[in-house]
């Protein structure tokens, strides 16, 4: 998830939470204040009415009875007074010409020696309008605050975080084989400046380590060549001498070990070369043609193992790739499919759009298929391989930004190679 998205989401969530709770609270408090105020007004009216009823002999003189809300006096036969009560009702309002809510205060009073039931009915309409008005203001405020916060967040994020994103892009673009391409920029924000310096130091350290390692590998690999050649050739000469069977076998073992070492060295040197970006030249390669040619080269090996090869090319695929790397990649995949096959087994090669699948019959590798991509990881059944084949494949795949998956299921190995679609 993106930084903006997370921040915006958090903002929205907290604002909604705060405003919902705050809004509801405000609504109820407001409502209760207005309500209480309204009731107090009713009571005040009642007091005024009682005063007037007691003061004036003629009801026509009363002020309230004439201009107040709906006031109703009803003579009561009951000598006992009734308790004061307040209730809401819906009534027809002749002015507004519709049913509207009203609040009625009912009480009894005795004047002019008679018991009266008095009701004061007051329209709740202004009250409701007030609550609605306040709610609307509240909602508008809420909405505009939310929008402005989000916009502000975006602007601030963009502005404040821009050095961070720049740094992120640069770190992403960092390539050990082309270190000069990354120049980190200074930032005014001290935290980012610290981060930049830390990243810079890390990169430099990595570069130094990498350089050292590279030199070491290159030197070792170069210097090892001559002694190896001497060992190999001297043992080869020894083998021509009249040796006892035992001596012969011992010398043979030296020779074998030297050969193995030289092959290991070669594989490692190749890995280093790929890492060093020494395979840059790209050319267009017709995958189908390439595979068919390679299969033709390997035909005798295939025949010896009595392997049945089926190829299905559903589409033509021309890729841009370094020829040597493509050669190594395809050779490795096909050779593996032959080498780790069973006698009389089969190999299926399917090319569909930009996906090449090479599957073959074979025994359980005994280790996780992902681990086989690591250097020197061999299947428990593999005998004299250097353990670098798949590591080289992986390196090439990574280098050329292809996708590879290797699966094993009940006697069937499948390598799925995905070329970038344009």
């Amino acid at each position: 998830m993106k930084l903006f998205t997370i921040a915006s989401r958090l903002y929205i969530l907290s604002i909604v939470a705060v405003f919902t709770i705050g809004g509801l609270l405000a609504y109820f408090i407001m409502k209760s204040i207005i309500d209480t105020e309204f009731n107090e007004k009713l009571i005040a009216e009642k007091e005024q009415l009682i005063y007037e009823l007691h003061t004036y002999q003629d009801l026509k003189d009363t002020y309230y009875l004439n201009i107040g809300d709906r006031i109703n006096l009803q003579e009561m036969t009951n000598q006992k007074g009734i308790k004061q009560s307040i209730s809401d009702t819906i009534m027809y309002d002749p002015f507004e010409r519709k049913q509207l809510p009203f609040r009625t205060l009912t009480f009894s009073d005795r004047f002019q020696n008679k018991n009266y039931k008095v009701t004061i009915t007051k329209s709740l309409l202004p009250n409701q309008d007030l609550v609605r008005g306040i709610s609307e203001i509240f909602l508008i405020m809420f909405g505009s605050l939310m929008i402005s916060l989000l916009v502000l967040n975006r602007i601030i994020s963009k502005k404040i975080w821009s050095p961070f994103f720049k740094l992120k892009d640069q770190v992403q673009a960092f390539n050990l084989s082309r270190p000069d391409m990354v120049v980190l920029e200074d930032s005014e924000v001290s935290e980012f400046q610290v981060l930049k310096e830390a990243v810079e130091a890390m990169m430099q350290q990595t570069l130094r380590d990498y350089q050292n390692l590279k030199e070491y590998t290159e030197n070792t690999s170069h210097e090892i060549q001559t002694p190896l050649a001497i060992i190999k050739n001297k043992t080869e000469l020894l083998l021509q001498e009249k040796l006892t069977k035992n001596q012969m076998s011992e010398v043979g073992k030296i020779y074998e070990a030297a050969t193995r070492l030289s092959k290991l060295k070669e594989g490692l040197a190749l890995l280093t070369k790929i890492e060093n970006n020494q395979f840059i030249k790209q050319e267009s390669i017709d995958v189908r043609q390439f595979i068919e040619r390679k299969l033709n080269n390997l035909q005798e090996l295939i025949d010896i193992r009595k392997i049945k090869v089926t190829t299905k090319f559903f589409s033509a695929l021309v890729i841009m790739m370094n020829y040597d790397l493509a050669y190594l990649l395809i050779t490795n995949l096909l050779s593996n499919a032959i080498k780790h096959n069973i006698k009389g087994g089969n190999i299926n090669i399917v090319l569909r759009q930009n996906v090449l699948t090479v599957s073959n019959t074979g025994v359980d590798p005994g280790v996780s298929t992902n681990e086989l991509f690591e250097r020197f990881k061999r299947s428990s059944t593999g005998s004299d391989s250097t353990g670098l084949g798949l590591a080289i494949v992986k390196r090439i795949v990574d280098f050329c930004k292809l996708d590879i998956t290797y699966t094993y299921a009940v006697g069937k190995h499948s390598v799925i190679l995905e070329f970038p679609s344009d």
């Binding site: 050649a229 000469l237 020779y255």
Partner: protein
């Protein structure tokens, strides 16, 4: 046959000389560029094996010098394994073949023989070993006049043995000879075993004698009486 070996590593130089002398070649050596240039100016060789990395310069200078003299000598360049640029450059300026270090002496020997065969167009091209006649130029073989149908690899294998008669040829060198760069990928000697079994069978069925001796665990030896 005169062969000049230009190699600065004395041990390596000596091994090559020892192996090739047994083949009946006359070998001379040079340990640096100066010595090499002097020798090619003074003498005439049939084949020159030159290491590219020499203490006082590149062995490619020898190739250039020879080519400028329009010499017809066969040249095999040797360099550190995997130095693709060296190889391309060497072959471009006129070397005939390329070997990368470390190489097998039997392989070097086979390459020299192939090179010399290609150079001597006039000479008889066929190699006769008892009843067996091998024609490298046309990649054909026959026993007592009857052709034997060999696959490409079987023929290569037979020729490799014939090039290194009475020598122990290791299975590793055979694998490398037959499969080249793919060798470490295929690296299962079952393949050689099967290949060899077929070859023996075909020679036997063709009425020839099986002259390939198995040196258990190490390789094979082609006996030529």
């Amino acid at each position: 046959m005169n062969i000049l070996i230009i190699e600065d590593e004395i041990d390596l130089q000596k091994s090559i000389v020892t192996y090739l002398k047994k083949e009946g070649y006359h070998c001379e050596v040079a340990a640096n560029l100066e010595e090499a240039l002097e020798k090619i100016w003074l003498y005439k060789y049939d084949c020159i094996i030159v290491d590219i990395t020499l203490p006082d310069g590149s062995g490619l200078a020898v190739v250039e010098k020879l080519k400028s003299k329009k010499s017809k000598v066969g040249i095999i360049i040797v360099s550190a394994r995997g130095e693709l640029e060296d190889r391309i450059k060497g072959l471009e300026i006129g070397a005939d073949d390329y070997l990368s270090k470390p190489f097998d002496l039997s392989e070097l020997n086979a390459r020299i023989k192939a090179l010399l065969r290609r150079r001597n167009f006039d000479a008889q091209n066929e190699i006769v070993v008892g009843d067996l006649v091998v024609d490298p130029a046309n990649r054909g073989a026959s026993i007592k006049g009857k052709p034997v149908n060999l696959t490409r690899k079987e023929f290569d294998l037979l020729l490799y043995f014939i090039s290194n008669p009475n020598r122990v040829v290791t299975k590793e060198s055979i694998a490398e000879h037959l499969w080249g760069d793919d060798m470490d990928l295929v690296d299962s000697y079952d393949f050689i075993y099967s290949q060899l079994k077929n070859l023996r069978k075909k020679i036997f069925e063709g009425g020839g004698t099986d002259s390939i001796e198995t040196i258990y665990g190490i390789g094979y030896k082609f006996i030529r009486g």
